[in-house]
Amino acid sequence: MIINHPLLGPRDASEFVYLGDAALMKRPDWQADDAAQQFYEYLYLRDNIAGQHRELWYHEQGDRSWLVVTRNTETHEITAVELARDVATREGHAV
């Protein structure tokens, strides 16, 4: 696969390390009343979508950026690649 890095252009996916669903950026509030349940769901349950999947890749053999890649899990077509830091800043993140 090739990931079209927003800063670097197309790079072989083998330069990257995969983590999983981009929902892992939405770490729950540790002080919430149901924090235990929230953390369980956050860490262990997955939508595991067959289709457009937003997921985290780390450019370990590159600029060390974490990316949010939108990729179809049935065709592998990639339709969007963003710096995760931008996404985290824009969409809110852990507290």
Binding site: L7, E15, Q61, R64, S65
Partner: protein
């Protein structure tokens, strides 16, 4: 206190090899300091760099050259520039701090890397066997820089001129890195 002296040694003891159409040489006269941009401090750093070095900070994947200390700023990531420059000062960070003050976070990388110059008409043929980056001369332009992996080793490649490349890889695996390049040379030439 007894008088003990420490002597410096380079990872490849100044290796220099000539082959038909390509030369391979260790670069030992360059310091390397990473400059990280503090959150929200892009403008301040840019101002400081322009004032002292007379160049703008390059975007990721590009480099800017300046005559000051024969330095080259390489854009390594969105919040990091790496500065290659000539000095024999063992505290290169101090030089940067003097010039740029507290506008960035500086980390000495001079001893982290082995630096090699691969030069000559056959250099691209040699690199084709190990480097996944598209080195087409119309695509990877002079001054372009990329961080990638070659033969399972993290590496940096910088195109210095038409046929000349600066290659960096981890100091500890310098022997493996140079072996990979030499094997490419042997296989190609």
């Amino acid at each position: 206190m007894a008088n003990y002296t420490l002597t410096a040694s380079s990872p490849l003891a100044g290796l220099q090899q000539e082959y038909q159409g390509v030369t391979l040489a260790e670069v030992t006269n360059k310091a390397l300091v990473s400059i990280s941009v503090p959150l929200g401090g892009e403008t301040a750093l840019q101002t400081a760099v322009t004032a002292t070095y007379g160049v703008t900070l390059p975007v990721t994947g590009k480099s800017s050259k300046t005559s000051v200390d024969n330095a080259l700023f390489a854009g390594m990531s969105r919040d990091q520039c790496w500065l290659f420059f000539e000095t024999d000062n063992i505290r290169p960070v101090n030089i940067i701090t003097e010039k740029l003050g507290a506008s960035g976070y500086y980390t000495d990388q001079s001893d982290s890397w082995v630096m090699l110059s691969l030069a000559g008409e056959k250099s691209r043929d040699v690199l084709e066997r190990i480097c996944p980056i598209n080195l087409d001369p119309d695509v990877f332009l002079i001054g372009d820089v990329a961080r990638t992996s070659m033969e399972h080793m993290g590496s940096i490649i910088l195109r210095e001129s038409e046929h000349n490349y600066l290659l960096c890889s981890a100091r500890s695996s310098a022997n493996s890195f140079v072996h990979a390049i030499e094997l490419s040379i042997k296989n190609v030439i």
